[in-house]
Symmetry: C2
Subunit: 329 residues, 2 copies
DNA sequence: ACAGGTACTGCAAAGGATTGCAGTGCGCAT
DNA sequence: ATGCGCACTGCAATCCTTTGCAGTACCTGT
């Protein structure tokens, strides 16, 4: 039904080869012919069949994106970024949501990898071994995680934590608490390390209250331990956790920031709508998606380049109403 | 590099045709041959090249999903539903985000339509004419909207509004306000109609305070007019708007639900985290995505069936803390 | 013993685009 | 006038799979 290259060729009075060349290597064809072809293309509304092209070039023009949970605004934003950048390069994006299921992740990646030129793995939960295996026979870019020999884009978690701690210390806080995310999360580990360093530099105390799900519920669950820790300020794995924490604190009648200051990470849209509006380390999310696509595209063009395939993005502390001066003891 | 059907054929000592048949029409091939082929497939890790198959069958095994804004939790949920259901049918999903841009929508759809078997348009902003044109040469399923001759899945907006109004009337409210969404939105129109009927049935007043963006900001902008309207309860286009409204009301020192009750629509995750937790009409979002895929798959199997290709989903009023008895005048 | 089935299996074409190689035609230099 | 080179164009093979048709071998019934 749709026009093929032969239809265009017939209409323009040339061979299919010429049409192909007129479109993809215009300098190789005579200017007069080129305009005839262009006219025929226009008239017929011809668009090359991607499957046929893919057969011969080995490239599909598609990439895959795997995220743990699309309903998490953080990943929704990254997805937007990926998608917008890919579109500019005429590349379509398959999106797959693993529902935070590690076992599903591996299978999904396998299935997807056959029909794309490359994969962007956003905050993969899989182990390093699985990741390496995947990267063996597929072009992979990691977001929010590093792994030996695989390009990727991450945030400078250490620096983000340093900003948060400096802010709290300046407000007079001396006893901080840290609510970690999933144990297997690369981000939670690095944020933990960054915190250690930051509190050491400032000579303040830090109590780690354990690992919780990266969700509202996780924050609710963490609240009581945070209060029990005696800290006057708490930093959480992400904003969702911070907002859950806020809710539980409110229910217990604990005032924020009067009794306790709260800092999140991510700056999702919800954070400025929280009450009190959340102080948080803003992570450029769409940016990460954009860069991931660029890394992948570069990798596709030159599969051997192993240098300079790592990107780091910086967070920015956004001070809102959930942090204030430390309560005098 | 990856194994082809010829490799499998050679290893199994049969012709490619037989391999193809052993895989897709097993009853046509001898049991003994079948196991030999299966073994070869297993050993080589063979997976049919989708592009080559697509070339001959005319089917890609892919579908496209177009949403206005992935960062809106409503659409993120629908996307999750689409994605999960499609996976079960071994179908991959292209996701495209139009950023609420009507003109981008048409172009995007055109580009996408060439490489998928069908398209799911979620809350399309395009006009009916454009929609019909698209549906001419592409298989399309609509979500959150109806159009002549195009299958789709929608919510029973009238009934949802009826539930909300009944709830408020039972609490003693007699003067309601309605904050509409985008003028071109099919949903806002139908919710408006449902409201008219409901208030007429109950013999209460309704003031429409106009149309606002389907966002937090839209809600903030609407708040003052709602207050000025003298209503004791307000129903908003969606939860995002309701939450924005809540924020502005709080800033003005207006108590919810003491002075004013607020009802939203959607029941996004954020709504139960709002303060006060939002009373809202819960819409089954992932369900809509799931059904849209099923509708599309059915359409692909039988492109001529025009009957029974409409689905309607029902909302459920979730009563939380943002609604209470009407203030005595 | 032979005709007619039955049950498999293989051949070859088709699907649309790309690309190495082989022309074709023209201009220019000698 | 002839030869050479250049610029452009076309032929045909190729990518991988599916499928209509034809072929083979064996079996059944008479």
């Amino acid at each position: 039904m749709p026009a093929t290259i032969r239809d265009v060729a017939r209409l323009a009075g040339v061979s299919p080869s010429t049409v192909s060349r007129a479109l993809s290597m215009p300098e190789m064809v005579n200017a007069a012919t080129r305009v005839r072809v262009a006219a025929a293309v226009e008239q017929l509304g011809y668009q090359p069949n991607r499957a046929a092209r893919g057969l011969i070039t080995g490239r599909t023009g598609n990439i895959g994106l795997v995220v743990p949970d699309l309903a998490n605004p953080f990943f929704a934003s990254v997805t937007k970024g990926v998608q917008a950048r890919a579109r500019r390069s005429d590349t379509a994006v398959f999106v797959a949501d693993t529902d935070e299921d590690v076992t599903a992740e591996v299978g999904l990646v396998r299935a997807l990898s056959k029909q794309v030129d490359g994969l962007i793995l956003c905050s993969p939960r899989s182990g390093d071994a699985d990741l390496s295996a995947i990267a063996q026979d597929t072009n992979v870019v990691l977001v929010n995680r590093t792994a030996e020999g695989i390009p990727g884009i991450t945030y400078d978690n250490e620096e983000g934590m340093r900003q948060a701690v400096a802010h709290l210390v300046a407000l007079g806080h001396r006893r901080l608490a840290w609510v970690g995310g999933p144990v297997t999360s690369w981000s939670t580990q690095h944020r933990g390390i960054g915190l250690e360093n930051a509190v050491a530099d400032h000579g303040v105390e830090l109590s780690r209250v354990g690992h919780f799900g990266p969700t509202y519920e996780g924050g609710m669950a963490a609240a009581d331990q945070v209060v029990a820790s005696g800290a006057t300020a708490v930093i959480t794995y992400n904003d969702l956790v911070a907002i859950g924490l806020l809710a539980r604190l409110h229910a217990r009648g604990i005032s924020v920031p009067g009794d306790l200051s709260v800092v999140g990470v991510d700056d999702i849209a919800m954070s400025r709508m929280a009450r009190p509006a959340l102080t948080t380390v803003r992570l450029p999310k769409q940016e990460a998606g954009r860069i991931a696509v660029e890394l992948l595209l570069a990798l596709l063009d030159d599969p051997d380049s192993t240098v300079d395939t790592r990107g780091t993005l910086h967070g920015e502390l956004i001070v809102r109403d959930s942090t204030g001066p430390a309560a005098s003891p």
